[in-house]
């Protein structure tokens, strides 16, 4: 099983990196760029576990370690690797 996790800043939280890259893209001539947000993408390979269990465990991993829930939110998808 593979967990694909996206961790991004919560709405309204300043994203300095996104802001700077946004400016850089505009400066490079990509005027069509209206906004940039930068987050993390994690892929976690899991040993044989049921989907229900994985769901619970991965959520827990995100809350405990992978996301900083004070300023970040996360979402994930479980993909079978068989």
């Amino acid at each position: 099983m593979l967990a694909q996790i996206h961790v991004t800043f919560k709405e309204g939280v300043l994203d300095p990196q996104g802001k700077t890259v946004h400016h850089a893209l505009n400066d490079l001539g990509y005027d069509e760029v209206l906004d940039v947000h930068i987050g993390k993408y994690l892929e976690i390979k899991l040993d044989s576990v049921s989907e229900e269990e994985a769901e619970i465990r991965v959520r827990e991993m995100c809350e405990r370690l992978l996301a900083n829930t004070v300023i970040e939110s996360f979402r994930f998808k479980l993909v079978s690797t068989e």
Binding site: K10, G12, V13, L14, P16, K19, N68, V70, I71
Partner: protein
């Protein structure tokens, strides 16, 4: 725009204002405030902004001196150091935000204190941080330690300001309330110190820096003005994210702007953002201000005037400039890629009037907002715990025949162990000024273009303050100055950060009163002006307050930058001596805590006169080039001081043998924390000179032994008390903190 909420007693309460305070507002402005105005009073009258509990006490701190250019009351204090330069410095807390989100909390703390300094026209050249965490086995401690250090590292390093020193302590009293106190020192031309003034009618108000977002509304002001409880989690969105890159640009752009004489005043937007900066500037200049919030650069759509005024978005400043220079100013800011906008002007009215989308949304006189909060006459009462804990009976304490075990345990205590894991994550060398790197008693920075150097130390033994807040605070001042003396510096000024529990409890206010008194008396005695400071109250969770922690940072001056002393032994075969006098004092010591898990007894006695002589003597030895190392005795006492001098030698470890004669208990002699002691080393041929000089002061001075070999050996009255290999001792001392921080669980 949505209709504003109606003012109800519940709404007033939600804004942290008491009924009495609300009635006072009605009295002062003669009408009901609207919603936005209520928000303004709420932040400006909060404990954090108004100092309503602490101000009556702070008046007792001495703040004057011939070289003081700016004392308390501005963004930071300033002291003339000669040669046309002034140092500008301040320390400030970011405790509550750091507990909620350690990385961003600590990072924005660093950003805030730097802005306080460069607001005054000074280039920040040094940062220090005083950190306190809960006990090691508290599950959150490791997470908080890593997060805070990471936050300071990422912010300070990116802005190119070296973090040159600090302190780190662990104690269970900080389990629910960590302390993150950040210090910044800047260098300015002594005749170009900028103040937060609005100046004359017609001057323009220039907004500079990041755009305003919804972050941190009621952040610093409310967070820092109430205790933590179960609802703290809900306050989370008030945490702000820092942008150190923008801060770096802001430093450069602001310093460039301040070269021009059409810049009238500057104020950073810290706690309570645009509100406090505009009201305070107007108030100080007895001027009026008109602003149009529609002109403020915004990050988010649909923000209300309430939100714009109360936002605590980081990396923003307010400038007041003379009319006619708007374009020049904006051009400089654009060159640095910063947002800038003229958002208002200075008027001859006596209040602040703010418009938004063509409508007036605020019209308030400045006095009620800035100075209207009544000083609270908080009750004080001596806490009962004191009588209980003062009873420490040393005869009941086991007294082992050898000290090896205690030494090893102390070296592995995170309070004593090397803080290398921390300061290696900080760029402590950038700008090429750091003459004494972290790891010695005080940091030393040369002042380019002069022969001078400044030394900085930050200190507080909060265990002593818990046992006796008056003595504890005085000891903090003395120890800080002693740290400076050990590097060859004379104290010139002090800043403090007073971290205490809930001021509504009379016992806490008693601690506060005592500590301020102790600090003030010590400063008077040592003749050190207190030029800036910060108060952090409500460091308390579910009724458990932290130990009183009046952190002090003292800045010292070294006239000749080539005469700087460090704590490491330099060569084998040098003599080791002790300036000062050792008594049987184990109260409040790290030894008592680590070996017996006790925080008891009375703190060591501080004899101020003796302290001063010890410091002066040490300074003279350094001046005359008679000694090769100096290190003050603090936590862990004499044994730890000598061990640290062994570890810090350039040869990665020189041994030492001490031959002591004493009637004291061995543990008190070696691990007791008697004040006013400095360990020195020197070439044998200077022994007589040093002894003669000691007699002339007079100051206690004894020979302890010699450097050399690969062991740390201590004999007491001819019997071996400690013998350990330096290499293995050093390993414990060096790796403790890092291996703790590096574990995951």
């Amino acid at each position: 725009m949505d209709k504003e909420p109606e003012i109800t007693s519940q709404l007033v309460k939600d804004h942290g204002l008491t009924g009495e305070e609300y009635r006072r507002i009605l009295d002062l402005i003669g009408r009901q405030p609207n919603f936005t105005e209520l928000g303004i009073f709420s932040v400006m009258w909060s404990e954090h902004c108004s100092y309503k509990s602490s101000r009556p006490f702070l008046k007792n701190l001495p703040s004057e001196g011939p070289n003081v250019l700016q004392g308390p009351g501005e963004n930071a204090g300033a002291i003339d150091i000669g040669d046309g330069f002034a140092v500008v410095f301040k320390i400030e807390s970011h405790n509550h935000p750091s507990f909620i989100e350690p990385h961003q909390g600590a990072a924005t703390g660093v950003g805030g204190i730097m802005r306080d300094v460069f607001t005054m026209g000074a280039r920040p050249i040094a940062l220090l941080d005083s950190l306190r965490f809960g006990e090691l086995d508290d599950p959150r401690t490791r997470f908080l330690l890593n997060g805070v250090v990471d936050g300071i590292s990422s912010y300070g390093n990116c802005t190119g300001v070296p973090t040159v020193g600090g302190e780190v302590y662990f104690d269970s009293c900080y389990n629910g309330n960590i302390l993150v106190n950040a210090f910044c020192l800047g260098l300015a031309k002594s005749d170009k110190i900028f103040l937060a003034k609005a100046g004359g009618v017609g001057n323009r108000i220039l907004y500079v820096g990041s755009k305003t977002g919804r972050d941190g509304i009621h952040g610093a002001s409310l967070l820092a003005s109430s205790e933590f409880d179960e609802t703290t989690e809900e306050k989370r969105p008030t945490v702000q994210v820092g942008d150190p890159f923008t801060e770096k640009l802001l430093i450069e752009a602001c310093l460039e702007l301040m070269e021009f004489d059409w810049v009238v005043g500057v104020q950073d937007m810290g706690a309570a953002g645009l509100t406090s900066s505009s009201f305070e500037m107007a108030h100080r200049s007895e001027a009026g201000v008109r602003m149009d919030l529609s002109k403020v650069p915004l990050r988010e759509a649909g923000m209300t005037p309430y939100e714009i005024l109360l936002s605590e978005s980081q990396e923003r400043m307010l400038f007041v400039i003379q009319p006619g220079h708007e374009e020049e100013a904006v051009a400089i800011l654009e060159k640095w890629g910063l947002d800038a906008a003229i958002i208002g002007e200075v008027t001859d009215e006596s209040g602040v009037r703010i418009r938004f989308n063509g409508k007036e949304v605020v019209n308030l006189p400045t006095f009620p907002v800035v100075d209207g909060a009544l000083d609270l006459k908080r009750e004080t009462q001596r806490p009962e715990y004191l009588d209980r804990i003062h009873q420490l009976n040393l005869t009941e304490l086991p007294h082992p025949p050898r000290g090896d075990k205690a030494l090893i345990k102390l070296l592995g205590s995170p309070n004593i162990a090397s803080k290398e894991w921390v300061y290696e994550q900080y760029d402590h060398m950038v700008r090429l000024n750091t003459l004494v790197l972290p790891g010695s008693d005080a940091a030393v920075l040369r002042i380019k273009g002069t022969k001078k150097a400044v030394a900085i130390s930050v200190d507080c033994n909060s265990r002593f303050c818990y046992l006796d807040p008056y003595e504890g605070a005085a000891i903090a001042v003395a120890e800080c100055c002693r740290n400076l003396a050990a590097t060859g510096a004379t104290p010139i000024g002090l800043t403090n950060c007073l971290n205490f529990g809930n001021p509504e409890r009379p016992e806490i206010m008693w601690q506060f009163e005592q500590a301020v008194q102790g600090m003030g008396d010590a400063c008077l005695y040592f003749n050190i002006p207190v030029v800036s400071g910060n108060v952090s109250l409500y460091n308390e969770t579910k009724g458990e307050a932290i130990f009183p922690t009046p952190t002090v940072a003292v800045v010292g001056l070294i006239e000749d930058q080539t005469k700087v002393m460090t704590q490491g032994f330099k060569k084998p075969g040098h003599r080791i001596g002790l300036i000062g006098f050792t008594m049987e004092e184990l109260g409040g010591s790290e030894y008592l805590k680590v070996l017996f898990d006790k925080t008891e007894g009375k703190p060591p006695v501080l004899d101020r006169k003796h302290e001063k002589q010890v410091q002066d003597f040490c300074l003279e030895l350094i001046q005359k080039g008679l000694i090769q190392s100096a290190h003050d005795c603090s936590e862990g006492g004499l044994a730890i001081a000598v061990a640290e001098s062994c570890f810090a030698s350039p040869a990665e470890g020189i041994g030492a043998t001490l031959d002591l004669e004493s009637t004291l208990r061995g543990d008190a002699l070696l691990f007791g924390e008697s004040q006013s002691r400095i360990v020195i080393s020197f070439p044998e041929e200077f022994t007589d000179k040093i002894e003669d000089l000691a007699l002339s002061y007079p100051v206690d001075f004894i020979l302890l032994g010699k450097t050399g070999g690969s062991h740390f050996t201590v004999n007491i009255n001819g019997r071996e008390y400690i013998k350990q290999e330096i290499e293995s001792l050093k390993k414990i001392w060096k790796t403790t903190l890092g291996s703790y921080a590096g574990q995951t669980t």
